[in-house]
């Protein structure tokens, strides 16, 4: 039994999601190899070699793997799959994008978004926006799995794996990268932040999110949003927390002007402590909040900032 984990990386550094995925792989038992595919990603491979519990790092450094285009990356992973019983990737927008192509190419099912490893072939995963948890058993020879990163701790450092360079370069020639507009922020990333403050429709407009940013700066927090706030155009999509946005589980989640639709709760209800600030005391968010404050957010949030 051996597991291939597909690493996620950016500018020569491993992304945190990879470390959570390695922990899930460790729970399967067996050797763990890490694939770093991209362009100019040697530094990321060196970082990957230091992750505890990794046996070997495979480095595929070629232009065609730049931006992790699904068509090209899936061909590479499919080719590398022989000899592995499990192939794991984080359930990020990158992992969700290419992994099903790998599964279909191997003629196996994919098990999406697992939250626990019950055995080598049995896993738990949320369905219906997390309103039910299914335990599923796979009969396929290779298990292709995406991992909900908030459900697993990050693997530590201290490994000293060898790095093996691959010469493979698959360019399917059907897709190409045009551009990207990535959010630039000095604040922590939503998916790894210890504290998150999120705003909903109650924020009324995008400018008012500045109030949340001020609180975030005092707490070292990330700023998130509900779907309603993103749909209304207050803030960009990368801030969305929820069933179809980002799944987060910080130590502290502060929901401001968020009513608490089940699709939003699906993305944050595993947070350790939840605070809700809302003027509507009937809002469903209060049913999951550890601390609720029924108040006008335009009074409460500036006061909170002052008193921190």
């Amino acid at each position: 039994m051996a597991t291939l984990v597909i690493a996620e990386h950016e500018n020569g550094a491993l992304k945190g999601a990879t470390l959570n995925t390695v922990t899930a792989a460790q729970q399967l038992g067996g050797d763990i190899d890490l694939l770093v595919a991209g362009s100019d990603c040697g530094a990321a491979a060196e970082a990957a070699a230091q992750v505890a519990g990794v046996n070997k790092v495979l480095l595929a450094d070629a232009d065609c793997y730049n931006h992790q285009l699904a068509e090209n990356l899936a061909q590479l992973v499919t080719e590398l799959s022989s000899g592995y019983s499990h192939i794991l990737a984080p359930a990020t927008t990158t992992g969700k994008n290419f992994m099903p192509r790998v599964a279909a190419a191997l003629d196996v099912a994919q098990i999406s978004d697992i939250v626990s490893v019950e055995g080598a072939d049995t896993f738990k995963r949320p369905i219906y926006a997390g309103n039910a948890i299914a335990t599923v058993q796979s009969s396929d020879a290779v298990k292709v799995i995406t991992v909900r990163t908030t459900a697993f701790d990050a693997a530590g450092e201290g490994g000293s794996a060898s790095v093996e360079a691959l010469s493979a370069a698959h360019d399917a020639g059907v897709s190409s990268f045009v551009k990207e507009e990535l959010a630039v922020s000095d604040r922590p990333e939503l998916t790894s932040a210890k504290v998150i403050i999120s705003g909903g429709r109650g924020m009324a407009n995008g400018e008012n999110f500045e109030m949340l940013e001020k609180v975030a700066d005092k707490l070292g927090a990330a700023v998130g949003a509900s779907r309603a706030a993103v749909d209304a155009g207050y803030v960009p999509n990368d801030m969305q927390v929820g069933q179809t946005g980002k799944i987060v589980a910080p130590e502290l989640y502060i929901a401001v002007g968020i009513s608490g639709a089940i699709q939003h709760l699906a993305g944050m209800k595993d947070s350790k402590y939840i605070v809700a600030i809302n003027k509507d005391e009937e809002a469903p968010i209060f049913q999951v909040a550890d601390y609720g404050l029924v108040a006008d957010l335009f009074d409460a949030v500036p006061e909170l900032e002052q008193k921190l």
């Binding site: 699904a70 990020t92 927008t93 990158t94 969700k96 994008n97 290419f98 099903p100 192509r101 790998v102 599964a103 279909a104 196996v108 099912a109 994919q110 098990i111 999406s112 369905i127 219906y128 926006a129 997390g130 309103n131 039910a132 299914a134 599923v136 058993q137 009969s139 399917a172 059907v174 897709s175 190409s176 990268f177 045009v178 990207e180 504290v195 749909d231 960009p236 999509n237 990368d238 069933q243 179809t244 980002k246 130590e251 502290l252 699709q263 350790k272 402590y273 939840i274 605070v275 005391e281 049913q287 550890d290 601390y291 609720g292 404050l293 029924v294 108040a295 909170l304 008193k307 921190l308």
Partner: protein
Amino acid sequence: MKVLVAVKRVVDYNVKIRVKSDESGVDLANVKMAMNPFCEIAVEEAVRLKESGAADEIVVVSMGPKACQEQIRTAMALGADRGIQIETDEDLESLAVAKLLAKVVEEEQPGLVILGKQSIDSDNNQTGQMLGAITGMPQGTFASEVNLGEGIVDVTREVDGGLQTLSLKMPAIVTTDLRLNEPRYASLPNIMKAKRKPLDVKTPADYGVDVTPRLKTLKVEAPAQREAGILVSSVDELVEKLKNEAKVI
């Protein structure tokens, strides 16, 4: 150009589902069903392409028991021209759906296949990508903008860090995210007209596809419930609790 749209019948997104007491699944008896919201966005995008003159025919396909014809008729009322139902009582997994869709693609030769990025029941987020692997077509998943060019389609995607735009050679696959468009409502005359549009009924066997599930669901449980906490009366009390009780700030 022909556009193929796949739609799924799911529990209406407003319904709060219940897990069966024997943990065998989710209770679907007498529950309101509807078209998966992401599939509605897929239908809307196809209709807009047709209205702009870029597409000349929209074929809608759904798979499942006879009841899923309702969702095909809904798509027709919104503007799809004809429908294909692949009838089965099997609870199809994404791989089986993708294999069946690949057969439909082979027959219909669409320039674009539009699907929802995930269904809100199984939350798999797999079918479009799997169809891509089987057919060799490129994919633009989680789309928030679709722009057709000459033999190519540019797709802007909602990714974790923001937005990414890819250029795909057609035929191509697009899976929809929430902000691609706002689906319209069907008008009564269009609902009536939809009843007369052609709808073919097929079976997986007609396409020679084995739809045997690869995964066995051992049990389905309700998630651990959070206990409701307390209401605080002031910001001062909130800060005090966070500092001294929760110790998170």
